[in-house]
Symmetry: C2
Subunit: 438 residues, 2 copies
């Protein structure tokens, strides 16, 4: 199975665990059988592999997520990088062209597109395989997934099928309705549109060429910024007569808010927290290494990270976005392809960061115009290159770098540094990258 | 007026703003007219000075508070250091001996003892002056303050006066009663015992000599650890026939819990916090530099510091102590006589701290057996001495110190350092102090 996972969004609704560079799909909140925690993207990737060990998985996403994806899924996962955010049609067209031109997938092969963030059982991925098989058997140009609705939601689009069979043709699509209309749709047998599409690779490429003037993947990538924002539903699905829908009745949850996310937490607390016995229906997620004490709370979520603290009534938690939009907060934590960083201290003319490099990884070779840096190695072993000079480092070593000097560090074992940045204009944008001669 | 302020307690009931070394009286939570915040001890000290510019103020406290007191009140305040915690009788005896032998106060002078933590109007200190004056006029051996009760509290001792005059003799003392008994006391005209005592210096010294075998202040200090734990009420007050009580009817609050403390907050929020409009009766104190977002909270207090996060129903907040007692948390923040420190990062074999030195101050000259240290100067100017070698430092300078090497730093302007400690056994107890040759 070729599967494209659409990984979008800044996920501010799950602040302070999500931020501009850590979308909600990267929060490690799902407890695995071995007691460790995994993120949405790790869970989905693992579930796909469980159902189809041979699956070719491609993640369609923006540049800002690439480091986090490699950090969580390793280097083998395919990534179709969107140069900027357009809507789902350009994203799916680009990822489809990427599959053909970069991965060499045959135009006859079926492709399944699905969102990266539904919380589902493994049977969902069995259903995706069935969608793929139906495309392969040429039963339709497009095969969609209809989710059996559990209540008359105003949040989803609806598909009204021609009949009540497990697989049926589609009468019509309905945009997000009000609750009353949703009830009526459901009484007519409507299903939620799960945002899943299966098609033959050639089909979407042809649709793309009809709408966009481009030659191949590289050309489409180069033109991406000029493409109009248009959804796949609007550009393709609603115009396609040879369309079918497969019903999925298993668990399916949209974990977009703290209220829904806490529903599926295996235990009420992740991290260091104490709840007294007058607390009821309280979830705490604490990413810091200091304790959270909760007393007398009812129906609440408490979420603590290096970015901030959220204390919210569960119902209210869905309305967080405008408040978070107003916060002008420096990014305090990020996972990168090579490891992670934590901001420890912010002063007017200095910034102190803890950098963790994974074994075998290294930073880009780079320099800064407007700041000096000091590395204090606190654990592990590695190699530092400063202006071409190589030097082995271990805990206790100090490396000082003036503005303009080129530097990198690679980890032999897991390497941790305290990096002190000093200067009048400290900015993540003050970075020049260079090739490192082998 | 000679006034002894009893400054006790670890103040765990106001965790996470108070901790083992920062008692509640040092939390800066009271807004002054100029918009700045002051602590309980700063507020009391300022109020005393307002009422009596000549007052000789002595703070009776443990060694652990000395740095914080100097940090908040300056170097001029008198401190009677208790070598260990005994009860109020030894503490008052020691401070009284200190006044005579160290400060040279005459034995005929009156002394007023009062707790450091009542939240009161300036008129309270006018009342203390009146207590002092009554002792001076020899109207009694001991003069106490009775607080007009506002409800039948179970938390306070009661004084039952002989009559209802503003100043009266005392019939009897009652320990903390249950609410029913408290009601009955109040109906008989009882007042709360405010823990205030005024006496002639000689009087308490004589009582001390009756109960303890000692010669002078130095001898009492040396024997302090061997003294029994006994309260001043039990040892002196309840046995004294020549005793009077002055009524105080002004504002008097015991700010021992979050519930009471938040009542007197001038504004509901201190620090970076956003409350949506469904919040009611919510107080937030945030000492971190990342935001707190509150949604849909009712009757709650949220308190955030480097030590941890408290989220509590206001009523419940009074029951915090046993939960905090269980927390085994490294001290993350402390005010010292020379400035302050923040723990930024804790690893198995390293600890990273931000040190702020006030201008003109310096650390002790010291060494560590089991850890190396690195100082990264991030702002200011100062002088470092390492194994007797002096060196001026400024932002960007790095000083490395091996275990065993003697070191200190003094600040010319406010000096900030990132200190990286490295070793297998990092402990605050691993410190040898030395004299620094001028």
């Amino acid at each position: 199975m070729n599967i494209i996972l659409l990984s979008g969004g800044s996920g501010k609704r799950l602040w302070p665990l999500s931020n501009e560079i850590r979308s909600k799909q990267f929060i490690k909140i799902f407890k695995k059988e071995n007691g460790e925690y995994e993120s949405m993207v790790q869970r989905v990737y693992r579930q796909i592999r469980t159902v189809d060990t041979e699956a070719v998985v491609t993640i369609a996403t923006s540049r800002t997520q690439v480091s986090a994806i490699h950090n969580q899924l390793g280097e083998d996962v395919g990534i179709s990088v969107e140069p900027c955010r357009r809507d789902t049609f350009p994203a799916i067209a680009l990822a489809t062209a990427w599959l053909k031109d970069i991965k060499g997938v045959d135009e006859d092969e079926p492709v399944v597109v699905c969102p990266v963030d539904p919380y589902v059982e493994d049977s969902y991925y069995e259903a995706l395989k069935e969608l793929s098989a139906q495309v392969e058997r040429n039963e339709a140009s497009l095969v969609l997934m209809g989710i059996e609705p559990t209540y008359p939601s105003e949040k989803y689009g609806y598909i009204i099928p021609a009949d009540k069979e497990a697989v049926s043709s589609v009468d019509t699509f309905k945009e997000k309705p009000d609750a009353e209309t949703a009830k009526e749709y459901i009484s007519r047998g409507a299903l939620w549109n799960g945002g899943v599409f299966a098609y033959r690779l050639r089909y979407v490429l042809e649709k793309a060429h009809e709408l966009i003037d481009f030659t191949d993947y590289a050309d489409l990538f180069a033109k991406y910024e000029t493409l109009p924002k248009i959804s796949f539903d609007y550009a393709v699905v609603e115009k396609e007569p040879r369309i079918r829908m497969l019903r999925y009745g298993g668990q399916w949850m949209d974990l977009g808010t703290w209220n829904t996310l806490t529903e599926i937490m295996a235990e009420p607390v992740i991290g260091d927290a104490v709840l007294n016995d007058t607390c009821e229906n309280v979830n705490v997620i604490n990413e810091l290494n200091v304790p959270v004490v909760c007393m007398g709370l009812k129906n609440m979520v408490v979420s603590v990270s290096a970015e901030g603290v959220l204390v919210s009534d569960k119902e209210q938690s869905g309305y967080i976005k405008p408040y978070v939009d107003k916060i002008e907060q420096q990014i305090m934590f990020a996972e990168k392809s090579w490891g992670s960083f934590h901001v420890l201290d912010v002063e007017e003319d200095s910034l102190t960061i803890k950098v963790t490099l994974n074994p075998g990884h290294r930073m880009n070779y780079h320099s800064h115009l407007h700041r000096d840096e000091i590395w204090n190695v606190i654990s592990g072993e590695g190699t530092v290159v400063v202006d071409g000079m190589e030097q082995n480092v271990k805990a206790g070593d100090v490396v000082t770098m003036q503005a303009g000097c080129r530097h990198t560090v690679s980890a032999v074992t897991e390497l941790k540094l305290i990096e002190v940045q000093l200067g009048k204009e400290i900015s993540v944008h003050d970075k020049q990258k260079f090739e490192l001669d082998a």
